[in-house]
């Protein structure tokens, strides 16, 4: 336990250094506005990928509705800031709570389903959420919600992302997390061993949805306008791609996946006609080379870096 905590501290210190470096790059305008925006998007995508990984990778529940939870969080948060002028943090928490609640509601009945049946059901639920939002005139309907304050900045994204990473990491390493892993490995065996599978599945689903809600709030306050079109099932696919590309069941992997997908897209922005073709080919090639994802189940921890640097020969 003590060892873990020390490691956490080292990671935290490292993160703070990273934050300082990036913050300087941003405030000194060394990074152009476009890349600054993409740094924000990476952060938001990391939150999305990690939270989806908790559901898909650690608990083994195939969910394709993550963009729906993001939409709930985004719309709840913008109602709080734009219509009720509440502080940003309250809006984000409200978004998280709303998305978590919807996740809980949806989770209870649908988690009886398995595998591909669950996948299509969650895809459908994500679409239902989007269509319902599209039909609510109070939030602008299909035209989208306009006049959102531009509250999201690098510090917000970075620290919320950090919190999400530590929270999910600690959750996975807790008793609850081990129950989730047991469900992933074999649901029936887990049940036989006394794991309350429904409880843990719903728990993972709710936590994942809540973080997607926060990410939605951050996303919405980045772009002045949000539109139901931003939360289609294609967007859910995108997050799934990040998770699988990085490695199901690896937090490091989700970070890498979010990073790679966002930056491939941004770096190819100057060649719009080829962007999606190259992206598609890269995706197929990466899956071919590393079907288990870039990281598989592996994590970069302090110990592994230590190994790398000081015990090269023995790795």
């Amino acid at each position: 336990m003590k060892y873990l905590r020390k490691n956490d501290l080292i990671m935290l210190a490292f993160s703070l250094v990273l934050f300082a470096v990036l913050q300087v790059l941003i405030s000194e305008r060394i990074l152009s506005a476009f890349w600054q925006l993409n740094v924000l998007i990476v952060g938001i995508n990391i939150i999305m990928a990690v939270s989806l990984n908790l559901i898909n990778g650690y608990t083994g529940q195939f969910s394709l509705g993550h963009a729906g939870f993001m939409a709930v969080g985004a719309y709840t948060a913008v109602i709080c800031t734009a219509n009720f002028h509440l502080p940003f943090i309250v809006a984000l928490l409200a978004g998280a709570a709303a998305a978590g609640f919807i996740g809980f509601l949806i989770g209870l009945p649908t988690l009886r389903l398995q595998g591909d049946y669950l996948a299509i059901a969650t895809l459908g639920l994500g679409e239902i959420v989007r269509i319902v939002i599209m039909n609510i005139d109070y939030v602008g309907g299909a035209a989208g919600f306009k006049g959102i304050p531009h509250n999201t900045n690098f510090a917000w994204v970075f620290f919320i992302m950090l919190f999400a990473l530590f929270f999910i990491k600690n959750f996975v390493n807790s008793n609850h997390g081990r129950a989730c892993l047991a469900i992933r490995e074999n649901e029936i065996a887990a049940e036989a061993m006394g794991v309350n599978t429904t409880k843990y599945k719903v728990m993972a689903f709710t936590i994942g949805a809540a973080f997607a809600g926060i990410a939605g709030g951050l996303f919405a306050h980045c772009f002045y306008i949000i539109n139901p079109m931003s939360f289609t099932f294609m967007q859910s696919f995108n997050y799934l791609i990040m998770v699988v590309l990085g490695g199901l069941g690896s937090i490091t992997g989700s970070i890498a996946g979010a990073f790679v997908v966002t930056f491939i897209s941004a770096a190819l922005a100057s060649w719009p006609e080829f962007r999606m073709i190259i992206y598609a080919l890269a995706l197929i090639a990466l899956m071919m080379k590393r079907p288990q994802g870039l990281f598989g189940y592996m994590e970069i921890t302090n110990a592994s870096i230590f190994d790398k640097i000081f015990r090269r020969g023995r790795v």
């Binding site: 898909n56 195939f62 009945p109 649908t110 009886r112 389903l113 398995q114 591909d116 049946y117 996948a119 299509i120 059901a121 895809l123 459908g124 639920l125 679409e127 239902i128 269509i131 319902v132 599209m134 039909n135 074999n186 649901e187 029936i188 065996a189 036989a192 099932f233 294609m234 696919f237 799934l240 791609i241 699988v244 590309l245 199901l248 006609e273 080829f274 999606m276 073709i277 992206y279 598609a280 080919l281 995706l283 197929i284 899956m287 071919m288 079907p291 288990q292 994802g293």
Partner: protein, 295 residues
């Protein structure tokens, strides 16, 4: 028109829409049945089929039937090539990786097509007479009847192939247990490849017929029908041929009734809602068998 009249007309609309979903779902369900892959690229194969048919008619000046056959054969080959290049190397990989590859293939087909044929929609020349039959106050047209007939015909033929022929037996064996089938002397790879060929040819047939029916094709036309066909296949019990047809028809009718009596904007939501409701009571679809997993 009073309520009953409108109801009947909406049922006609629904069955006609549903038979399109069913036609696409047949290929989906066959491919799923054999390698348990949600082939997200299926809708895009359907799009490619529509374009091949379009060019066969407009550029080569062929009639509908030869164009349809050419499209089915070419697209069938395309399906086999996709399987060989993109899915076969991942046969022993986690299923979710294959799914991501399928999404990749889907993007690739969509945007390569968009690059070559531009995003502007194309229209089929008037190649098939579209006679409207007025039965009392109701309207049915020839193309709707044709699509419905083709769907039922293909379902019967496919069921025959799968249930009665030797290839079908091999398909069922490979579907049940690929490796054991291999040990029994079945060339599983070939069977899988064959299934992809048939599934893709079916998608091409659907593409050409639907292209003619709606008279407009574009590179992203496959996305929504692809998802709807998948919903139809799951609704009926994925992997089961008559299930795909029944699922498609139910979906079409639900959509037409919701659009006609509630609101068009909730149509898709209703389609998904009916899927979820059915799954809650029958977690493996209408015709699906509930197999209890053992440890």
């Amino acid at each position: 028109m009073d309520f009953t009249h409108q109801l009947v007309q909406q049922l006609i609309n629904g069955i006609s829409l549903g038979s399109i979903y069913a036609l696409i779902a047949l290929g989906y369900t066959m491919i799923y049945g054999i390698i348990k892959l949600i082939n997200f690229a299926h809708g895009d194969v359907y799009m490619v089929g529509a374009y091949i048919g379009f060019f066969a008619i407009t550029q080569a000046g062929l009639g509908v039937v030869p164009a349809l056959l050419i499209s089915m054969v070419t697209t069938g080959i395309l399906g086999m090539v996709i399987e060989k290049l993109a899915y076969k190397p991942l046969r022993h990989a986690p299923r979710i990786s294959v799914l991501i590859t399928a999404i990749g293939v889907s993007f690739f087909l969509e945007y390569t097509s968009m690059y070559f044929v531009t995003p502007t929609p194309r229209t089929f020349p008037a190649v098939l007479d579209n006679v409207a039959f007025n039965v009392g106050p109701f309207v049915v047209n020839g193309q709707q009847l044709m699509i419905f007939a083709v769907t039922i015909l293909l379902m019967v033929i496919l069921t025959y192939i799968v249930q009665r022929t030797k290839t079908g037996k091999a398909m069922r064996a490979a579907s049940y247990d690929t490796e054991t089938a291999q040990l029994m002397g079945i060339d599983s790879d070939r069977v899988i490849s064959f299934t992809f060929g048939i599934g893709s040819a079916l998608a091409a047939a659907a593409g050409v017929l639907v292209g003619i029916y709606y008279n407009s094709i574009d590179p992203l036309m496959g996305i929504m029908p692809g998802v709807k066909a998948f919903v139809a296949a799951v609704l009926g019990g994925i992997g089961i041929l008559p299930g795909a047809v029944v699922g498609g028809l139910i979906l079409g009718v639900v959509e037409a009734l919701v659009a006609g009596f509630v609101s068009s904007t909730f149509r898709d939501a209703a389609a998904f809602a009916i899927l979820i409701l059915v799954l809650l009571f029958k977690p493996t679809g209408i015709f699906g068998k509930n197999t209890r997993e053992k440890v």
